[in-house]
Structures are given as C-alpha cells and as structure tokens.
C-alpha cells in the first residue's frame, strides 16, 4: 500500500485560511469485479460475464457513465434495461457535492444487486489515481481521471486472463470529453446514441434529457426572449444582505397558477408579497426558494384574486394573463398588497410530476411514431405546463404519465421536460390513486421480503408467553377490566383504558398503548422502513400501512379477549380528576371489550347496565368531562374541520353517499385520556433527554394570518381576539348568529385554516418557551398513543422505555439531537404529505360522486374572487 499526502487550502467557518493535509492511500487490491476476469482476486463478481452488446458496440461491454450522465439522465440509469455499469468513485464524489438527491438515488442503484452497478474505487487504485496537473481545473482533472479509469478497464479486460472478449464503453454527453476519449482510443458514446440502439426498450429514447446547451442554443436561434436572466448566486446573496432583495418560498395559488405569494419582510413587516403573472414569476416553480425584488408602490395589487382554469394552448394562456394584469378596476375596499418579481432562484424544487398530455397538442394521425413536441399538464395545478418531445404521443393520449423538467431557458414560455413512465389510463381509480400517492411522495410499495423477515417467526400464532410476564419487568394487568373504544371497523387498535377505585378513595386510571417497540427494534430493516414511511396514510378506500399488517392489525392490535403486550401509563387521580401520581410500565393486558363509540355511548346511557365495565366507562366519562373543562378554561381551542365520510358501494367501491363525520361524547372520552398520556410522557422524556426528546409543538399563528377572516367577520360586527389561544377561544364562543346555527361551525372551520401546522421537533433545537402547543394550550406535548400508525410514537416509546429501565442499552439514535432533528424533519414532511394525500383522496371521491350528478344543497360563500367564489356546503 503506498501513501500520497493530499493537501489543500480551506477556508474555515470563522474565515481563517488553513492548509489541510489528508492522507490518501493507494492500493493494489481493488478488483475489477468482472465475472470474466481471472487475474483479479474478487470472490463475488458483480459485473456479469455476458453484458449487453449493441449495434454500434458489438463486443459485449460494461458501461462507464460520467458525472453529468448521472446528473441529467438518472431516470435512464434507473431503467431496468441498463445493467452492468461501473460507477467510478470520482463520479460518486462529484455527485455528492452537486446533488444529494441524485447521489442517494445512485447509491440506491448500487445497493440493488440485480442492477449490477459496481462502485469502483478508482481514486484509491494505484494505477488509476492521478494528480491534478498544473493549470488544470478540478473539473478537467476529474474528467481525465474518468478517462484514465476507462482506459485502465479496457486494457485490464483486454490483457488479463479471461474467458471471452469483453470491453468498456464510456457514456458522456460532453462532446469535448468524448473527443479527448476518442483520441486516447477509448470507446465512447452520447446517451442518446447509446439508448437508440437498445431497441428492446424504445421508451428510453423519450426519456433522454436533451443536453441543456443544445436546447438552449436552439431556442436562442428561434430568437424571442421571454424572460429576464436570473442573477448569479453571488449577486443574490449580496442583494439579500443589503436588503435589496428578499428570499422566501414560492407558493402558487391553488385557484390561479399565475398568481403566487412569498412570505417576506416588506416595510419592516413580515407579510405575504404577491407575484402576479408569468413574467414576474420568471420561471420559478411551486416550492422553489426564490429571491424577489419588491415592485414600486404604483404597481401594487389592488384587486381581488382571479380564478383561472388552465387553457389548452400557449396562446390563450398568454391572453388570459394579459387580461389578468391589464383589466384591473380599482376596488377601494381592499388595502394595497405589495407585489414583487423573481430575480433569481436559490433552490429549485423540481421533482417528477404526474399528469397527462394535452390532447389538443398532439398532431399527426393515430399510430404515427414520429417524434413531436406536445404539452404535458401536471395534476398539481400549480405546476406550469411542460413541453416534452415524444415518439409515443398517440399511445400516451388519455394516459396518466410521469414527466420530469429538464430546463427552462429564457427563450421558452414553458419549461422543457422528458417522459419518465406511464402509470395507466386516466379516470381509472387504481391509476388515480397511484397518481395521488406519487404526487404526495407516499411510499406505497409492498413490504419487501427483507422487512417481513423481521416479523416474529411464529406469525399469526404468536402468543404472550410466561417469559414475557416474568422476565421483562412487565406488570401483569390481565385481570383488569381493560377495554378499547374506537370507530366502527377499526382493526389497528393502539389504545385501551381501565379505571378502578383505590382503597384510599382515589382512582387508578390506566392508558394502555400497543407495545410496538417490542417487535420493532432499532436498526432492523422493518424499523428503517417505518421511519422512512413515518405514518400510515389513510385514503378513502385504502390504507397504506407504516408497519406490516401482521403487527398493525394483529399482534400489536389490542383486540378483546386476547393477551397482548402494552406500554401503560398509570395515574392515581382524585375524584376531581387531578393527577396525584403517575407511573409508566411495560405490561401484559387482556382487553375485555372492543367497543365502537356508539356501543360505549349506549352503555353509558342505559341505566339498566350496572356491571363493572359500564361503571368504569361512566367514571372515565365523567373524568374526561372534568379534564376537558379544565383544558378549555386554560384556553384550548375546539376547532372544526369538515371531515367527510363516504359510504362506498361494496363491490365497485364507488361512493354512493357522502356525510360529514359525527362526533359522540365517547370520542371525546378517549381523546381526553390520550392527550393526558401524551402530556405526562412528554414531561417525563424531556426530563431525562433534555437535548433529544421528540416533542410536538404548535406555534402561535402570526396576527396577519387572521386578517382576512377578521375583515369578513367585521361585516357581522364580530371581533376576533387572537393574541392567546384563550382569547381566541373566547371570541370564537361569541361568534354566533342566532338565525344561522351553522355559522359558528363555519367560523371555526375557517379559523382552522389560519392556524400554523403543529410540528415534531427535538427538544435540544428549540428554546423551552417555544415548546408550547397553542391549540391544546399546554406547555409541552408529544405523541405516545398511536405507535402502530405513527413513527413519532415509536420513537417516544423508546425514549420512555430508556427513562424507566436503567439497564436498557440504547445507542445514539436516542441521544443525538441532530439525528433526532433530521428524523423530525422527515416525520413533519411525511405527515404533511399524508394529510394532503388524504384530502386529495376525498376530493377525488367527491368528484367521482358528483360526476354526472346535479345535487341541490344550501351553502355558504367563504371567499370571493373576481370571477368566482369558494363555497362551503353543509350536509
């Protein structure tokens, strides 16, 4: 092993310049991993003995792509037709600096042994390592390193002892690099030329991203410039620093894709700044982090927003826009809103989009397969139409497809993209559901075999054994009258309750939660999968589980008359439902009943029922009422959101009726004790893990969020106080119009929309006063009670177990606050996506329900646009 010192100059965070010397070992034991090679000592060769040969490259060969091929053509690299690829270390390192998402995708391909992508450590190989030459840029050095490695492979495979002829082909879309390779007698090809030979996968040609330079050059030749150039990152950074620009996330209106808002500070006030029209949005896309420049006051927005249905072709779109900006009539009732234009994009949020090809944009006769430009429209209405070039236009008509954006040159009205894959025909419920899941980035594939191997070997026959009771510090609660109360048809029962009188006149109340972490241990593939999924996603007709159903609906589910493992929170309470003492323990329970809300309610109401279980429920119910009363006095909010339930026709799963979900007393009963358990647990884990407890907070919404609602309510002479949740709650109680019983509910629904999202966070990353949960009006909160369907709760179970069991060994996953923060970020993202997916699913079914149907109902107008309005219909 030889050694080379690598030294480079680095600037530290403090601004000091230092020289860093790193050791860099070069080795002679890095093998080529070809199944044909007999001179290397590798044991499990990854690269096949019979790789593909093509029309242009008739010798069977392995492919060596350069960095830009992975950067731009990752969809092609992920295609199953591409196998036997050598991924150079130089390439992987460049990718790591260029784009983390792409780097992760490449690593995922390398990990998939079926794809046969071999990561070759050329930078540590004695014969392929090269030093940067004087006057050579790092980029040129890396390109050369790639060529040297390709050359080495070619020679190695040609000269060594082997069983059949074999070679390598370099893929590069950089013409210069290809020229240099050719002069060194290295076989190479552009991606487009290479996949054109793969006739068994014709769709690959459509998936090629045209090199950015080429498409831009062509567009420039066309002549017309549509957009201003973006400023450079340095100009943006300086502009933001000296206050000329502001930065924020672009949020496009759901009613009008030509109107967006960015939260920014204007005139010393944090407020929404409007960006109106395509020119001002300047090629930014929903979710991008943009730099904006506020326009002069004369151009500020004075009218209500306009609703726009996207038109089919470009020309009318431009017309719609000019109507939008020109024909403004000044409406003095509205205050002026600041407007701005986008001067640069700091971070792009491009992702693959689901959608369809606009039928009007398809030319030629049915069955023609010549390439043509067509317009793709994303399901997400906030995404602009995308121009793609395809040979399969006619086959793709009426299909749901996935498309990725390649570039958006200044000369093109619309962004340019390429076809990624077909999902199925539109209107088909399966396809639409898949679209919905993809659009919300919900992982919905079946659990892999590797994950299912983590389940207990006994499968459905797993039972609680004596060893569980005696060896694991579990308390035996099997004799207690534990029961669960859930919605009808609930199969994943996370929680159950009990209450009993104590000799001292107090009561013992227990909340028992499914002991998921008994089965799901840190580091298991099943645990990693669950952490990635974050939550179970509930759609109207489908549930995407976080954990395999053997656990969720069977072994962990606290069903009646089966012994189950639980994690229990036991309080001693006095008759006023005040906590005297709290204790946590792992336990074994045997639930006596699984009630529906209705059954439980009936038992409470039926005076003839005087058994222990019913009396228990009555006690719990009265305690819950006291707890709720106290919570409301402290200012907890009761907000409403219209929750919809569909009655699905059994076999076809077509919705036959819609109704709003109804709440019973017993819903509140369960909820009250869950809240209490979550608070008790939050206090406990925070005391033991001050830096890394997983908690949940709900920030106080800024005053400006309520402005619109406040203005609307002032019409009815109703005022809205929002500085604390207590004041808000009181003013909501006063917001009543006797003649309209639905009015108050509607105000509450609209208040919900003014709220900020509650978030998970790691206690070490926020100041203690920011832990507050505004909606629940409590200083600290977490999620403990639904570990079957939320990963946050799984984590909290582990934290709590570490609090009560001093002998438990645990790793950094519980103590590292940054790791906890990253987990929280993912959980927040997954949660938001899951909520949106659920909402979209309801929307989808609502549309199916109202399709070809005229129904007359009364409604309330809740928002006025210039040419439309939003209505809330009660039923």
């Amino acid at each position: 092993m030889s050694l080379r010192a690598k030294s480079f100059i680095k600037r530290t965070k403090k601004g000091n310049v230092i020289k860093v010397i790193k050791e860099h070992y070069l080795r002679d034991d890095i093998w080529c991993s070809s199944a044909l090679c007999e001179s290397c000592n590798h044991t499990d060769a990854l690269l096949s003995a019979t790789p593909r040969a093509t029309e242009s490259f008739r010798t069977p060969h392995y492919i060596v792509p350069d960095t830009n091929v992975f950067m731009n053509q990752i969809d092609i690299m992920e295609h199953p037709a591409i196998k036997d690829v050598i991924v150079l270390q130089t390439v992987r390192e460049e990718l790591r600096h260029l784009s983390m998402p792409i780097y992760n995708r490449v690593n995922a391909i390398v990990a998939d042994k079926n794809k046969r992508f071999y990561a070759f450590s050329n930078e540590h190989h004695k014969e392929t390592y090269i030093e940067r030459m004087k006057d050579e840029s790092p980029n040129d050095r890396n390109d050369r390193a790639i060529r040297v490695s390709v050359k080495w492979y070619a020679n190695h495979l040609a000269n060594g002892k082997k069983k059949a002829p074999i070679t390598v082909v370099m893929l590069s879309d950089d013409r210069d690099n290809r020229e240099k390779a050719k002069s060194a007698a290295i076989k190479c090809s552009s991606v487009r030329d290479y996949v054109a030979d793969l006739t068994d996968s014709p769709e690959l040609v459509d998936m090629v991203v045209s090199a950015k330079d080429a498409s831009e050059a062509q567009a420039k030749a066309d002549g017309k410039i549509e957009y201003e150039e973006h400023l450079s990152q340095v100009q943006i950074a300086n502009g933001v620093k000296n206050g000329k620009f502001s930065q924020g996330t672009l949020n496009i209106s759901g009613h009008n894709y030509l109107e967006a808002t960015v939260m920014a500070t204007v005139e010393g006030k944090q407020q929404n700044v409007y960006i109106v029209g395509r020119k001002n949005m300047n090629r930014s896309i929903q979710g991008d982090t943009v730099a904006i420049q506020v326009l002069p006051k004369s151009e500020w927005k004075k009218t209500a927003s306009v609703a726009i249905e996207e038109d089919e072709d470009e020309a009318t779109e431009m017309k719609a826009e000019s109507e939008n900006t020109d024909g403004m009539d000044v409406d003095n009732a509205l205050p002026e809103m600041p407007t701005a234009k986008v001067v640069g994009i700091i971070r792009k949020k491009w992702r693959p989009y689901c959608g369809f090809i606009s039928k009007k944009s398809i030319h030629g006769t049915e069955g023609s397969t010549s390439a043509q430009n067509v317009i793709f429209r994303a399901m997400d209405r906030r995404i602009p139409s995308i121009k793609i070039r395809t040979t399969q236009a006619h086959t793709l008509a009426g299909q749901r497809i996935v498309v990725a954006i390649d570039s958006w040159p200044t000369t093109s009205v619309l962004p340019l993209g390429h076809f990624v894959k077909t999902l199925g025909s539109s209107g088909d419920k399966e396809t639409e559901t898949e679209v919905l899941l993809l659009e919300h980035d919900v992982p919905f594939q079946e659990f892999s075999k590797r994950i299912l191997e983590d389940l207990p070997a006994e499968g459905e026959d797993w039972v609680v054994l004596d060893k569980h009771v005696h060896n694991e510090r579990r308390r035996d609660f099997r004799h207690l009258n534990v029961c669960s109360i859930d919605p009808p048809g609930c199969t994943d029962i996370d929680d159950a309750l009990h209450v009993r009188a104590l000799p001292n006149g107090n009561f013992e109340v227990g909340v028992h939660i499914a002991d998921v972490t008994y089965f799901v241990k840190p580091g298991m593939p099943m645990d990693e999968e669950a952490a990635g999924r974050g939550t179970t996603v509930y759609l109207v007709d489908k549930r995407i589980d976080m954990l395999p159903s053997l656990l969720g609906t069977n072994l962990c589910s606290l069903r009646s008359n089966v012994e189950r493992l639980a994690f229990s929170c036991i309080w001693e309470m006095n008759e006023n439902a005040e906590i005297v003492n709290v204790d946590f323990t792992k336990s074994v329970i045997k639930s006596k009943f699984s009630f529906t809300y209705e059954e439980a309610q009936n038992r409470i109401d039926d005076d003839r029922m005087q058994d222990d279980v019913t009396k228990g429920i009555r006690t719990l119910n009265s305690f819950a009422k006291k707890l709720k009363q106290r919570r409301l006095e402290k200012g907890a909010l009761t907000l409403a959101s219209p929750e919809v339930r569909f009655n699905l026709e059994n076999d076809s799963q077509d919705p036959v009726d819609v109704e709003l979900k109804e709440l019973k007393d017993t819903n509140a009963l369960v909820e009250e004790f869950m809240l209490l358990a979550n608070i008790s647990v939050a206090e406990r884990i925070y005391s033991k893990f001050p830096d890394s407890a997983l908690l949940r907070r709900h920030p106080t919404p800024p005053d400006s969020n309520f402005e619109e609602l406040r203005r609307a309510l002032s019409e009815f002479n109703i005022s809205l106080e929002t500085s604390t949740s207590k004041e808000l709650s009181d003013s909501l109680d006063r917001a009543v119009i006797p003649s309209d019983p639905y009015f108050n509910k509607m105000v509450r629904i609209m208040t919900t929309r003014c709220m900020l999202q509650a978030q998970y966070f790691s206690s070490g990353t926020e100041a203690e006063q920011d832990f507050r949960h505004y909606g629940l009006a409590c200083p600290i909160y977490t999620h403990f009670t639904s570990p079957i369907r939320r990963y946050s709760d799984v984590m909290v179970h582990r934290l709590l177990e570490a609090c009560i069991d001093a002998d438990l060994t645990y790793g950094q996953e519980l103590t590292d606050k940054m790791r906890m923060k990253e987990l929280c970020d993912n959980l927040n993202f997954r949660n938001r996506m899951a909520q949106q997916a659920a909402r979209s699913s309801v929307e989808l079914y609502t549309n199916l329900f109202f399709r070809n149907k005229v129904v007359e109902e009364d409604g309330h107008v809740i928002r006025i646009l210039r040419n439309g309005f939003v209505v809330l219909v009660q039923k």
């Binding site: 230092i18 790193k22 050791e23 080795r27």
Partner: protein, 234 residues
C-alpha cells in the same frame, strides 16, 4: 446523513484504508541529544515527540517516595498541531498507564515530556507509544512494551485507528493499551457512547491493532540496537 461518506460500498474508508488497517507508522528513537531517552512517532499525520529525563534526583523533597520512583508526565499540544489553531493548557494530562519497574529507583524521579506536533486523530495512542519508545531509549527497565491503539465503529462496522475526520464525525472511539507479551490490558478509555453489543468486536480489533504496533515498534528497537551494537563492534 452527514454529507461525508465514511465507508464506501466497497468498504474503503475516506483515506482509502480497509476497516482493519492501521495508518502508516514511522518511529525513531534517540532524536533529542539532551534527553536521556527520546522518541518520535508518526501514526498517519499524528506526530508526537517524547522525551524522558531520569531517573534523577527528586526536585521537590516533599514528593520523595522511599520505595520507588515518582513519575511526572507533562503533555503539551503544539499550537500549530491542529488544523484550527487553538490554545490548550499544559494541564491536559492523560494518565497513560505506563508500566515501569519503579521500585528499582527509589527516591528518584522520572520526567516524561510529550509534545504533540501534529494532530490527526488518536493522540492518546500515539503518546503512549511514543512514551514507551522514549523510556526504552532511556534504558529504563520495563515489564513489557505498552502498545496502544484505537478502534471505533462506523455504520456498525468496527474500524481500526481512526483519523481526525472519522473521530470528528461522531463515531465512538475506544483507546486500548496492552502489554503485548501477556496480553494484559493496561488501559481502556472511551469518551463517547458505544452500543454494548459492539464493544467486544471493537475492543478485540483495537487489541489486534496493539499487537501490530508492537511488531512494528519492536522491529525499530531491535534495528536501532543492532546499529548500536554494530558501531560498537567496529
């Protein structure tokens, strides 16, 4: 998670070593003329100089021990040694667990000065190894070499001899010092959390590292002694 990849899919570390490989070691003895014994050791880019004075008269009479020698260890980090220069106090002392035959030198004092010239991870192990070499160079009788090595754990893979980059990316690091002939463990020190399931494999890897270091140091000592012998014979 962190942008740095500490272990490639092929199992190579950032600097190109495999998990069970030591960094390159260079050791020299008698590098300082004025000391009674001295040694210079490089383990990768971690460079340590050790000087031994004594056995000599005890400086402060109060400290005299009548049955054995006292040992005074001073540890010093050169301000230019770390990539970011920071001030360190002289009192950053480690108990390095050196096993001397102190009873042979009653009422005397042995001073060991350790100077870290460059720091790239594993300072403690390099100091122990350097001190051992310097003591041998000073001709002070010892039961055995004291050889030290570190091992840690990256993505559940035990790795030997962490460099600074690996140390600072939050991987746990265990330093082990042993008497190679008997295999007796002198020191085991860890300041981070390591899952108990991993402890055994990490500790045994570190012990293996100590044995490899012993072979290298022993070769250096024998070589120098041979030189000395040769020059005396001439």
């Amino acid at each position: 998670m962190s942008r740095l990849e500490l272990l490639t899919p092929e199992g190579l570390r950032v600097d190109g070593r495999r998990p069970n490989e030591l960094r390159k070691i260079i050791a020299k003895t008698s590098v300082l003329a004025q000391a009674d014994g001295s040694a210079y050791i490089e383990q990768g880019n971690t460079k340590v100089l050790a000087a031994v004075y004594g056995p000599q008269e005890v400086r402060h009479r109060m400290q005299i021990l009548h049955d054995r020698a006292i040992i005074n260890v001073e540890f010093n980090v050169a301000p230019f040694s770390t990539s970011e220069r920071k001030k360190r106090s002289k009192n950053d002392k480690y108990d390095n667990g050196i096993k001397l035959q102190t009873s042979q030198f009653p009422r005397s004092q042995i001073d060991i000065y350790l100077q870290v010239l460059q720091h790239d991870g594993g300072t403690l192990q390099a100091c122990i190894n350097a001190a051992t070499m310097a003591l041998i160079d000073a001709g002070i009788p010892m039961i055995d070499y004291v050889c030290a090595s570190t091992a840690g754990c990256i993505d559940k893979q035990p790795v030997l001899d962490l460099n600074y980059l690996e140390e600072s990316s939050d991987s746990p690091e265990l330093t082990v010092a042993i008497l190679p002939r008997t295999g007796k463990v002198n020191l085991m020190s860890m300041e981070s959390r390591l899952h108990v399931d991993m402890l055994e494999s990490v500790a045994s890897l570190a012990t293996e590292g100590c044995e490899q270091i012993h072979t290298i140091l022993d070769a250096v000592v024998r070589d120098t002694t041979q030189h000395l012998k040769d020059s005396l014979m001439q």
